[in-house]
Structure formats: C-alpha cells, structure tokens
Symmetry: C2
Subunit: 466 residues, 2 copies
C-alpha cells in the first residue's frame, strides 16, 4: 500500500472517530472531560498526519484491517484496476463525499411525507432525480431498483405466467435466466452468428421456432445491448423492431451501457430499459434503474390492490413489484451524487472507445495475444486470449498462470483474473490517457522480460516506464 494512500485513510478514520464523539454528545457536543481528551488526541494525530503529508516524511504504521477482518481497500488508489465489472461502478468524488454524510440506514427518509414513497421525496430531490433518470434513458418513467437483476425480476414477474416463453440471447446474463426461472417461464435462446453477435434475423427465426413448437409467441424479449462475455454490440435496434412487429414487449438490458454511453430507449424501440448502478453508474451496490413507457408503467409499476380481510387496510400507492420503497439510503444517494458526472461522461464515450483500442494496439503487439471480442472495439470491456503468448510462459513457470498476475501487480496493475493466461477479460473504462499508455507498455514489458516475441516497432521501448 502506498503510504500516501494510507495516510489519507488514517486521517479520514480519525475524523470519523471525532465525529463519533460528536454523535454521542449530541445535540450540543457537551463533551465530558474524557470526550475532550479523546477528541484532542485524535485531532493531534490528525495534525501529525497533515504534517507528514506536507513534508512527505512518514511514520510507517501499516494498517491492514479496518475492522473485523475487513482489509483496507486501496485497489483504486494504488493500482490501475482492469477488473471487467468494476470499472464503471467506481464512485465519483461526489458520490464518495455524499456517502460519508448519508451512510446511515434510512438516511434519505428525513423528509418523507405523504404519500410516503421514495420516488416522491423532495428533499433530497429524489423525485426530480427520478424524472431526470427517465429522461436520461429516453423513457417516460423510472424507478431505482436494487440492481439490474431486480429490474428484470419486476418485468418478468409482471408479464410472465407459468409456461410462457421468454427470448434471451445465447449470451444473455445469468440473472435474466434466473428472473425467468423464478416466474415459472421458460428461456429460449437466440443463437449468435459466427461473429458472436445476436441479429434481427436470428430473432425472427427463433420467434417462428417458438411459435411453431409451443403454438404461442414468446411473451418477452430481453437483450443485452453489449454482452457481459465479449462486450460485443448486438442489434438492439433491429431486434426491437422485430419485437414490435410481433407485438412482443422488448426489454433493453443496459447493464453495460446505461451510465457510460448515450442510451435512448424510445429511439431504440424498447418497452423497458434496465441499467445497473454498481456496474455502470458509479454507485454503491446494489443499485440500478428500471425505466419504461407510460403504457407499461401501469402494469410493471402497478400499485397494490389487496385489502386486509379484517382491517380493510389498503396500502395506496405502494407498488407491488418494487415492494414499496427500494433504495432508501446510501445506495440511492450515490446514484444521485454521481448522476451529473455520469450524464456528462456518456457524452465522451467515443474517447473511452478510443482509449480501449489504443490500449489493445499495444496489447496486441505481444505476438500471439489476441482479442476475441469484435475488433476494433466498440466497448471498453474486452475478452482476450493469451494462450499463444503468456500462457506459454505459464506452462513452465513455477507460479503457473499466476506469474502474469505477479508481474502485473509488481507494475501496479490488478483486476485480471488471477491465474488465467488463456482467455480472460479486462476493462479500461475511465482510465486517463497516461494510464492507458502505462497499461499497454506494461504488457509489452512483461513479454520482453520472458522473451515472448514483440512486434518490431514496439520493442524495447518501455522498460523504464513501468
């Protein structure tokens, strides 16, 4: 761990210690003698850390655990993290600040008034946020949900009866499978073409197959715009059009798009748009969004109709599939605090794609390394194959595939799938150009260290860099 990173955490923890004393003595911080001693002691330590940071001379006090076996997590400070699913869920600075203030349980509910529903709260402006969120994905209405999967579940549970067919792609995420299974429906997969892409033609074919075999049309089509496996783009426009022609509702799975690139659900022709907060909207897990049209809202966001048989109780505007309120604290606050930057960053998606390709240009300079995803990339998530490059080293290295992890870690890079030197995934989302260059150079440098051939024009340039 870098000492600077550690000192930042130490300082924040001291401030939290001080905050705890204030909490215990609220409302007027009536400190006891002991409180004063404690408070001043923490303040003194804080002052020392500030001085250490100023002079860049540190007392080495290694904090491993925050508490109870939970290690200090510094992967985003001390490393370039290329983990395939962590990249776009990193909190923004604003979300981290807001979370410090709003961590407590029901922290968003201070001003909850009639009609007592999360998306109706004015302060913080949760109601406004919901409108903006719907607009952001080009739909009429939106709700926050505990992860994209809970969005799938809400839609499937509303639309699917036992025995109904739901079309997913042959490369759909497992959570779509589970949502269908839970509803009693049956999954039917749309095959990929030879380029690992789901097409409109294949969708038509599958619809016809289902119709022929079950005598019924599928009740729903769910499609990942970019899939989790290759990060390939699938023909959501074409497939939405097909769905529309057959009058089958279409769910656009934007777990890998909403929050990082522009998404316009109505333009696509989607009936439902689902996004993930912790995957692509710089938010605390579990969080996400389910958006829909006014037409479908009355079904998927239907309010409770049940009446207590003795009391006659009704619960008014509580929505059945949402189970009432969904994200009533830090998760939602992180979504809201990150939102302006998230909106802004989708406008610069082109740059992210450029950086992704720029990195891969270096990565592919190592002979034998391949990109399995469609290439050039249209996304920052990429599946690579290093069987013909780094895996050859792994075969005889005493650390086997872990040699690559070791070498990457030495260079401050984490998030690869530890031990894998054949096919694995990485994600460059949100890295600066400097970090992108560094990352590419690192792979070349490792290759050269182990005498894996490197393309002539990239040879021997980077050993000083990394």
């Amino acid at each position: 761990m870098s000492i600077k990173t550690q000192k930042i955490f130490e300082a924040e923890f001291l401030l939290e210690d001080m905050r705890e004393i204030i909490r215990k003595t609220s409302p007027h911080s009536a400190f006891s003698k002991d409180d004063k001693i404690q408070f001043n002691e923490k303040l003194k330590k804080l002052s020392e850390i500030v001085e250490e940071l100023r002079t860049n001379k540190y007392t080495e006090l290694k904090i491993k655990y925050i508490t109870n076996g939970i290690e200090l997590r510094t992967r985003e400070e001390d490393f370039i993290n290329i983990h395939p699913i962590q990249a776009a869920g990193r909190l923004t600075l604003e979300a981290r600040k807001a979370l410090i203030s709003y961590g407590d349980g029901y922290s968003t509910c201070d001003w909850c008034r009639k009609p007592f529903r999360l998306d109706k709260i004015h302060r913080p402006p949760i109601d406004e946020f919901h409108s903006e969120l719907a607009e952001f994905v080009g739909m009429d209405q939106a709700r926050v949900v505990p992860g994209a999967r809970r969005g799938f579940q809400a839609v499937v549970s509303s639309l699917i009866e036992k025995g109904d067919s739901v079309l997913l792609s042959a490369i759909s995420h497992y959570t779509e499978f589970l949502a269908v299974e839970d509803s009693g429906g049956t999954v039917k997969e749309i095959p990929l073409n030879e380029k690992n892409i789901v097409t409109a033609d294949a969708t038509v074919q599958k619809i016809e197959d289902v119709k022929k075999n079950t005598k019924k049309l599928p009740k729903l089509i769910m499609l990942d715009h970019f899939d989790y496996m290759f990060g390939n783009e699938h023909d959501v426009y074409g497939i939405a059009k097909v769905a529309n022609e057959y009058d089958i509702p279409f769910l656009y799975n934007g777990a890998y798009t909403v929050g990082i690139m522009p998404v316009d659900g109505k333009k696509i022709g989607a009936d439902f748009v689902v996004g993930s907060g912790h995957k692509s909207m710089a938010s605390v897990a579990p969080s996400g969004v389910l958006a829909t049209t006014d037409e479908w809202a009355s079904k998927v966001f239907r309010t409770t109709q049940m009446v207590g048989d003795i009391t006659g109780r009704k619960f008014g505007i509580k929505e059945v599939e949402m189970l009432g309120c969904t994200l009533m604290g830090g998760t939602l606050i992180s979504m809201m605090a990150s939102f302006p930057k998230v909106v802004e960053r989708t406008k610069h998606w082109d740059d992210e794609v450029k950086k992704s390709n720029q990195f891969l240009d270096e990565f592919l300079a190592v002979e034998g390394s391949k990109v399995i995803s469609e290439y050039p990339r249209k996304h920052t998530l990429t599946k690579v194959n290093t069987t013909e490059s780094f895996d050859k080293i792994a075969k005889t290295h005493k650390r086997r595939g872990f040699f690559l992890s070791d070498e990457l870690r030495k260079r401050g890079i984490v998030g690869e799938f530890a031990g894998s030197t054949r096919t694995w995934k990485l994600n460059t989302y949100g890295r600066t150009w400097d970090q992108i260059k560094y990352l590419g150079h690192a792979f070349i440098d490792i290759a050269e260290k182990y005498d894996v051939p490197v393309k002539a024009n990239k040879q021997g340039q980077y050993s000083g860099d990394v």
Copy 2:
C-alpha cells in the same frame, strides 16, 4: 449546523479531493505540476481546519449542499434523532470507516473466485460472516438480501401458489402484504386482542376459519415479533407452536428485533427468520438477512435448474430467489463492519428498554400525554398520543402542529413526525443516558412554556437544561 460538525465534514471532503488525485494518477501517484498544486492546496486547507478545531475559532463558511441539491446531512451529529425507523440503522463507527474504503460498486468482489457466489468469498471474510449471521439468529443458513422485504419475497415466492392463503397479523407491515400479492396469494389477517397483541388463540381461530372457508390450510404464517405501529410484542413462541402443530411454515419477521435484541429462531420455532440491515443492524440500505433451517434451505435457496435450449448453459450454484449475488458492495461491508458491535449490543437490550421507559416517565409527566403502545414498554419504538396535551396548543398556534416540531428543533431534537401533535411515534434506541434525560426534560420544558400542566414532582426543573 454546528460549526464543529461542519468542519469535520469539510476536512473529510478535502481528504476525498486528495484521494481523487491519487486515483487519477495511480498506480504511482505520478502527480503532474497541476496535481501537486491541487494536492497541496487541499492539504493546506485541511491544515487550517485542524488549526481551527484546535483553537476552537472558526471561519464561518456554511456548506449547505454536498453536490447537486444533496444537503449535508447532520441529523445524527447536531440533533437527537428520535425518528421511529432510523434509530437502529445508524451506522457504527466501524461501518462508517469501512464504507469510506468500500463505497465503489462491486467492492466486495476483488477476491471472488470459483464458484462465484457472494456468500462463498473468503476475502473479505464474507463466507464466515454468513455462518456467523446464521448462528446469530439461531438458524442453520443465512443469506444477505436487499432489505427484509426481499426476504419475505424470496420465501413467499418459493412457497405460495396462486390462490394460497397466507396468514399475517392485522398489524403486519405493508411489505408482507406486497410480497403475498406479488405471488398471487391471498392475505388473511389474524385479529389483535384488546391490547393490540396477536395471540396464539387468535391464530388458531384464524387458521380454522381459513380451513373452513377455503377448504385448505394457510400455506405460510408471517409474524412481526414487534410490530411497526406500536412496537408491541406479539406471541411468536405461542404462534410458532401453533404453526408447527398445523404443519404450516412460520416466518419470524425480526425487522424490529434482529440486531437489537437476542433472537434465537430455532428456540422460537421459526422456519424462517428475516431481519433488516438498515432498520436494526446499523447498515446501509437496502440490506437485510434471510435465515432458515437446512430443511427449508433446499427450497428457498434452491439453485437454478434451467438449461439453455441452444447452448445447454447452466448456472450451477446460483440461487434462484437470490437472483445470484445480492449485496456486492458497501451495503454488505457495512453489515459486516457493524456486526461485532451489533452482536454485543443485543446483550444490552435490557438497558435500552430501561432507557425507553425512563424517557417515557418524563414524557408522561406532561398531563394529557399518553402512551398508546403496551406500557411499560418492552421496546424503544413507542406510539404516543398528545391530543390532550400538545395538540391543545396546536389548535390555536399560528404554526399549528408544527409548533411542537419548532420547539423540539430549537432544543436539538428531530425525527418526530413534523406537524403531528395527536398520535405519533418515536424511538429512543441507542441514546446515552444523558441524551435520554435531556429528551425527557425537553418535553416538560416545552409543556411549561405553553402552560400545559405538568405533574407536580416534575415542575420547573429543566428550563436550564434544554
């Protein structure tokens, strides 16, 4: 806002600004000239705040918003918050620290390895935490879920078919209603007795009624140990026994117990125990626990059986009702970090009940004020009626019922239902004895200010205190 509180936040935010620079320049904090200037500027400001805190002399820079319409939240620092549902969800110091480190999206997944399921992760020790959690509530197996409601949903969805009856109490939480409605089942309410308590006898009677009217037994009984309305204790032991005799599964709703008082599910005779992280386990929302016996685990935590019709894909040990992983970030980390203190605090539940009654002793010294919950209290959540005391003032006060909120706020107390001077709820959980005394005195002081009669032995003592 107290200036001390604000300075603590300001200091933490500056440290987050510095952390952001470290993140942007990872892995080696290779600061550009501008980064250095920025970093040092933040450090200088931090140093000034430390000095201000030391000398207790402040520059008044009022921060209202953290970002984007989100106000700085200082209800737990500057006030005694008596909000009925926020008290036991306040984060522990440990959770706040851990959250600073683990806010990012999938932060708990750094070391996720085969078989790729949240509750199997060793580092941080999520697997161990799950075992401890099960043991903590006296059950065999436990899973974390996005709120108690998602625990109800998982059980109901597993057990209930369209048309089945589910027994709830006439005072059950609305989320139990919604879970049943979502499954297509029908709610049947067990009536309360004259003391607003659900008894075993009433349960037997209701089971027999349902049997007579529907020719079938109810498929599930869900009961809140302490309810959300009065915080009254219901006969979970007796009702579990009845459920057992009829061979009807019994779900113990511990949203107001698990995490604040000892709960032993097996001793109670429960088949399922559900708890709430953000309500009673000092955790970020949405979070909670669903625990069960080995017998029921195979049903409620059943793994996916579906197979892709083209690919033959299966998703192994992913659990259908959990939709795979549930709380893969800050929510879970807050539960884990708070857990040791949460376990410890349940051992001191008696003290919390004593404090609750101690406060009410003062509260009831205001003539006309009543406790509607069972009394003496067995819980810290209490429903009170001030129609015959403070509401009389509200009738002619220009601020109507808000006069009471105003007076409380002046004394550093928030969390009452703003504007209500008839029946309303409060919760004293987790307050120190000093805060409890202060709270009681405040109500007497307000009464005296408005000439509401106060019992003789409590008169005129507190105006200096509050």
